[in-house]
Every structure is written in structure tokens, then in C-alpha cells.
């Protein structure tokens, strides 16, 4: 027996439906997990849906949770356009958060400049961290997968050291950073919800990145570099510089996600400031099929799963790690679906029988 992949003629609707099929498949798998955990999957999904979308509070909470995912998703996507695997979104988010918290607590910054300073500072911090693997890759050809992963761990431990050292609360002894100033807290658009400035930043970023990718020569250059670096070099494009630029942009976006978490939801840096937003960004980018607009529904989906799983876990006792499982499984499912949209799988039986005839 031999399994072969045969190319299918391209089909628009198959490409469009594919991510949905992938999400459906991963939800079915998770339904099985819920059954194993001893709960009714339909009831569990109903609770999740309700917790994520029913009512003003639920919806806005989900949207607020989606904002960092939109930004880390864009970060992964922008780098991937040049075929740079930025798995360092997590670390870049953390340095962004630290920069925002540091700037947001400073009394010497004029009040109207506080929030802009936090945003700019976080973006710069993220970009600066991303510059390390970016330069290593473009100058020394160091594989970015390992370097970005290692930087995630290094930054995480540095942050922990900061929290249990210089930033430790001298009174309570808690390992949280000092609160940012009241004036540094991001404005909220809808009283009583958490729809803060970070959400707007995420939406603007989607529009901006979408335009850059589609309408500008830099966007096309990134695509040429990503699809065929050799041809890009032959055509006179500076592959290293374009890649590095995309990586810096990627890091800045992830850094902004950190600013949003500090300025909009936590108002300080805590050890668990990011429950893996950076890694989830890769899932978002893949679910979005690397399109900027697709990042929004993909991020909302993952955010809904997390907020939903929290509530579902409380009510049914199913471990809330089901959210992590859905996230990972949907990544695998979307990859498989992308392949199935383009190829038909043929199982060829052993040819022994044909020969006998």
C-alpha cells in the first residue's frame, strides 16, 4: 500500500471553508475529551458559548481577551511573510509589558504623553528584542526557531527576577510590579466593560498591516522574499534588510500586545501576565491563513474558547486546560485542512492483486 498526494485543481470555496472545517474537527475532538471527563459535551459547549458571547459583559470580555491575540497573531503573520518563524512573540510581549509598566509608573512624564509613551515604548522594546534573532538570522544565518524560543525563556526568567527583586512590593512582598499611574490606565470606550484603547490599537493594526501587505511595494517585497528568497535576491531586493524590517515590525506588534495587557487590564506586570499569548499568535496566524483580516475571527475564536473554558470548568469540573488542547489541536487541524484543500489523498492498494489478473 502506498499513500500519495495528488494535486487538486484550485478551488476558492474549499480554501474559504477549510479553516472552519479545521475548527469543527478540533471541536469534535474536544467534545470527545469532555465526554472522557464525564460531562455532556453539548451542555459544555453551550456553557462555553454563553460565557463567551451571551450579553454585553461576556462579549466585551471576549473581545478584550482577543486584542492581544490579534496583535501576536499579526506579529507571527508579518514575520512569516518573509518566512521568518518568530516564535518569540511571547518574549516580545513580555518586554513590551515591562516597558509599558516602567513608563506608566513614571511621574516625570507629562500626563498627556503617558499613554503614547507606553505604546511607543512597548513597541520599541518588542522590536529591540526581535532584532536579536532578526540580526542573528540575517547576518549570521542563525536559525530563528531556537533563538526565539530561548529568548522567551530568558526574558521570562529575567522578568521573574525583576518581580522578585527590584520590583517586589516592599510592603506586601508580592511579586508584582508597582501599579501604573491612574493617568496611564488606558481609556475605556464603553463604561463598565474592558473595551480599552488596546482593543482599538489591535483593530488599527489589522487595518494598517492589511494595507501594508496588499497595497505597498514593501508588502509585495516581503512576499517575494518569503516565497522565494533566491529569486528576490536575483531581482535586486535586499533580502536581509526586508526580512529584518519585517521582524522588527513583528516584534513591535507583539510588544504592543504587552502594553495593552498592562495599560488595559492588569495595570501592572504580574508573573502570569501572558498565558501564552505569544505562542497562541502562531495558531491565530495559521487559522487566519496568513491574511490580516482573518486574524480577527481567529483571535476571537481562541479568546472565546479560553473565556468559555474558564466558566465551563467551574460549572462542570472539566479541566480548563481543554482550552490549550483546542488551541493545539486546531493548529494541527488547520494545517491538515490546508493540505487537503490542495491535495487529494489516494490510498493505493498493494498492486499484488492487479498483477494476478
Amino acid at each position: 500500500m502506498r499513500i500519495t498526494l495528488e494535486p487538486r485543481p484550485p478551488s476558492r470555496w474549499r480554501e474559504v471553508l477549510m479553516p472552519f472545517a479545521a475548527i469543527a474537527a478540533s471541536l469534535v475532538l474536544c467534545g470527545l475529551l469532555i465526554v472522557i471527563a464525564g460531562a455532556n459535551p453539548f451542555q459544555a459547549f453551550a456553557i462555553m458559548g454563553e460565557a463567551a458571547f451571551a450579553g454585553k459583559f461576556a462579549i466585551t470580555e471576549t473581545v478584550a481577551r482577543a486584542a492581544p491575540l490579534v496583535l501576536t497573531g499579526l506579529a507571527a503573520l508579518v514575520a512569516l511573510r518573509t518566512r521568518f518563524w518568530n516564535i518569540g512573540g511571547e518574549g516580545q510581549l513580555l518586554v513590551g509589558a515591562m516597558a509599558a509598566a516602567w513608563l506608566g509608573a513614571r511621574e516625570d512624564i507629562p500626563v498627556p504623553l503617558l499613554v503614547p509613551a507606553m505604546l511607543v515604548g512597548a513597541a520599541l522594546a518588542g522590536a529591540a528584542l526581535a532584532a536579536i534573532p532578526g540580526l542573528l538570522k540575517t547576518r549570521l544565518k542563525v536559525d530563528e526557531v531556537v533563538s526565539t524560543l530561548m529568548l522567551n525563556f530568558i526574558v521570562m526568567y529575567l522578568m521573574m527576577a525583576l518581580l522578585s527583586g527590584p520590583w517586589k512590593d516592599p510592603v506586601t512582598g508580592w511579586t508584582d510590579s508597582p501599579d501604573i499611574l491612574m493617568d496611564a490606565e488606558f481609556p475605556v470606550f464603553w463604561a463598565g466593560t474592558r473595551l480599552h484603547l488596546g482593543v482599538l490599537v489591535a483593530v488599527i493594526a489589522v487595518i494598517g498591516i492589511g494595507i501594508v501587505l496588499k497595497r505597498t511595494s514593501f508588502g509585495l517585497a516581503m512576499k517575494v522574499v518569503g516565497e522565494n528568497p533566491k529569486a528576490a535576491h536575483h531581482a535586486g531586493l535586499d533580502v536581509g534588510r526586508i526580512t529584518l524590517f519585517a521582524v522588527l515590525l513583528s516584534g513591535a506588534l507583539a510588544g504592543l500586545a504587552g502594553a495593552g495587557e498592562v495599560g488595559g487590564t492588569q495595570f501592572q506586570v504580574i508573573a502570569s501576565i501572558s498565558p501564552g499569548f505569544g505562542y497562541a499568535g502562531l495558531v491565530v496566524a495559521m487559522l487566519a491563513r496568513l491574511s490580516a483580516v482573518g486574524v480577527i475571527p481567529a483571535a476571537v475564536f481562541l479568546a472565546a474558547i479560553t473565556t468559555g473554558a474558564d466558566e465551563m470548568s467551574r460549572q462542570t469540573g472539566v479541566p480548563f486546560f481543554i482550552a490549550d488542547a483546542v488551541q493545539g489541536l486546531s493548529l494541527i487541524a488547520v494545517l491538515v485542512a490546508m493540505t487537503l484543500a490542495r491535495y487529494r489523498i489516494r490510498w493505493r492498494p498493494s498492486p499484488k492483486r492487479e498483477a494476478a489478473s
Binding site: L33, L158, G165, I322, A323, A325, Q327
Partner: protein, 313 residues
């Protein structure tokens, strides 16, 4: 306690070996996968799954060796999944490997919480105890360091020459290396690259599972969510440092075991007044340095990360 005191004692070297073993098993796992031409980023998830499989089985059955077996089997199964994705479906190895790691991580956390609940004191097992090898352990200095270890450690010692022998002296090893260098050439001489890669990934999965199981069956005695915390990724760099050769990989793993032992000692010695988390970052910094320094001289298998399409014209 000065820096020199930290490393100049037998306890330090014994600890270095203990900490090196899971890295070594993981590195050999990655070595097998990469020699077949597949970058296995699923290794982190495979190690974690092996750790839980080993722990849960040992906890339920009371047999540590059944735990080892379960870790091997689960690891091989995840290796099969990885093979399905990157060998059969020819998905991008980077993102597929990350997907495998993410999915298994989610499933492992889920299963652990489901099986063991949430408690202040995590359930524990009695881990393997060290077995001093007769005569050998009496050798001064070397004996207590090398030959007063766990049974799994001795097995790991044997795996290094065994793997080297397999790779360079047997037809199957030559087939594996040929597939990793040029799958078309392999197909041209009657080797099925797809079969070889599937088997290689299953073997890699089993070894990674064993690496994970070692951590709680021998080292810690309990399962924590952070039990692997990047050890799998570090192995990716150690394969580069070890130039894709078993003995050199063993050396690389030992070096990193020493780094790990060193940072643990720094934490506890109190000789440096810094938050202990800084020391925790040390192995990752060392890994980063390793990939930077080594890239230029690296001799990766030529077909690494290249999917094999038998019908490609």
C-alpha cells in the same frame, strides 16, 4: 563558598550526570529524527507526554518499569502522529512540530488535571534509587560520579555507542543516513524514504518519551507542569553542538548537565546575592550562545526539513 568550590566536588559531577541524562536522551532522539531529514519540534511535547505517561503508570501500577514502558509507547505514538503530518502529508516541519508540541501539551495538562485533580501537595511516587555498580563504583573520583547512578542512566550510557554502531556500521543505519542526506538517492537504491522516516520519528518519539519519564521516575518523583520547561528545545541546539554524531552529542549533553548543576548550586549556595531566577535563565543563555557559535560550522543532514515527494518530477 567560592565559584571553584561549587564545581570542585564529587557531588557536583554526579549531579551534572544526573541532569545530563534527560538532555542526552532528548538529544539522541533529535539526532535520530534529524539524521532521517526531519526536524522534530514535537520533541518538547513528546518529552512532556513521556513524563506524564511514566508518572501516571507508575502511580497507578506501582511499577516504575511499567512507567518506562508506557513513556516509550506514548512517545512512539506521538512520533507516529508527527510522521503522519510531516512525512505523509508533507506539512512544514517547523509549524507541524510546534502544533504537535502545543496539542500534546494541552492534552497532557488536561489529562493530568483530570486524573490527579487539583491539590496543594502534588501526588508523588517513590522514584528509582541509585544502584552502585560493583567494583566500578569503587574507583576513586570517577566511580561515585559515573557508577553510582540510576539504572536508566546506565541504559543511557549504553545507548550512545549502540546508536553510533547502528548509524555507522549497520545497513539500516546507512539507509537512515542516506535518507537524511538525499531521499531521492535513497529511493534510487531501493530504500523507502517514507518508511525510514516514519520509523525514525517513532524511535525519536520513544527516546523523547524516555527522556521525559526519566525526569520524574528518576529525578523528581512527581509531575509538574513545568517539568520539561524547554529541555526539548535545548536538545535541538545540542544536536548542532554535537555535530549530529552520538558521542559528540553525549559530550554536549554532559556540558549542559554541568551548566544546569552549576546554576542549581549557585541558587542554593547563597554566594551570589541575586534573584535565583537569573540562574534559571543560564541554560537558555548558554543554548543561545551555542546556536550562535555553531551555525557557521554546522553540518546538518543535507535533506533536513525537506519533505520527500515520491512523485515529484
Amino acid at each position: 563558598m567560592s565559584m571553584l568550590d561549587i564545581i570542585l566536588d564529587i557531588g557536583f559531577f554526579a549531579a551534572a550526570i544526573r541532569l545530563a541524562v534527560p538532555l542526552l536522551l532528548g538529544t539522541l532522539s533529535e539526532l535520530v529524527a534529524e539524521r532521517s531529514g526531519v526536524l522534530n519540534l514535537g520533541i518538547e511535547g513528546m518529552m512532556l507526554a513521556g513524563a506524564l505517561a511514566g508518572f501516571a503508570t507508575a502511580h497507578v501500577t506501582g511499577s516504575l518499569w511499567l512507567g518506562v514502558l508506557a513513556a516509550l509507547i506514548l512517545g512512539a505514538l506521538i512520533g507516529l502522529l508527527m510522521a503522519l503530518l510531516v512525512v505523509i502529508l508533507r506539512l512544514d516541519q517547523t509549524v507541524a512540530g510546534l502544533g504537535v508540541t502545543m496539542a500534546t501539551t494541552g492534552l497532557v495538562f488536561f489529562s493530568y488535571r483530570l486524573g490527579f485533580g487539583e491539590s496543594a501537595t502534588p501526588p508523588a511516587i517513590t522514584p528509582f534509587s541509585t544502584i552502585p555498580l560493583p567494583l566500578l563504583s569503587d574507583i576513586p573520583y570517577i566511580g561515585p560520579v559515573l557508577f553510582n547512578q540510576y539504572a536508566l542512566t546506565y541504559i543511557t550510557y549504553l545507548l550512545v555507542p549502540a546508536l553510533a554502531f547502528f548509524l555507522f556500521r549497520t545497513p539500516a543505519g546507512l539507509a537512515l543516513r542516506t535518507v537524511g542526506e538525499n531521499p531521492k538517492a535513497a529511493a534510487g537504491v531501493g530504500i523507502d524514504p517514507i518508511k525510514v522516516r516514519i520509523l525514525a520519528l517513532m524511535a525519536a518519539g520513544a527516546l523523547a518519551g524516555l527522556a521525559g519519564a526519566y525526569l520524574n521516575l528518576a529525578a523528581f518523583g512527581s509531575f509538574t507542569f513545568g517539568i520539561i520547561s524547554g529541555r526539548g528545545w535545548i536538545c535541538l541546539a545540542l544536536v548542532v553542538l554535537g555535530r549530529w554524531k552520538p558521542f559528540a552529542c553525549a559530550g554536549a549533553a554532559l556540558l549542559f548537565g554541568a551548566v544546569d548543576a552549576f546554576q542549581l548550586r549557585l541558587q542554593t549556595s547563597g554566594s551570589v546575592d541575586l534573584p535565583y531566577q537569573l540562574f534559571l535563565a543560564l541554560p537558555y543563555v548558554a543554548t543561545l550562545i551555542v546556536v550562535i557559535v555553531n551555525t557557521r560550522f554546522a553540518a546538518a543532514p543535507a535533506a533536513l526539513m525537506e519533505p520527500y515527494d515520491p512523485e515529484k518530477r
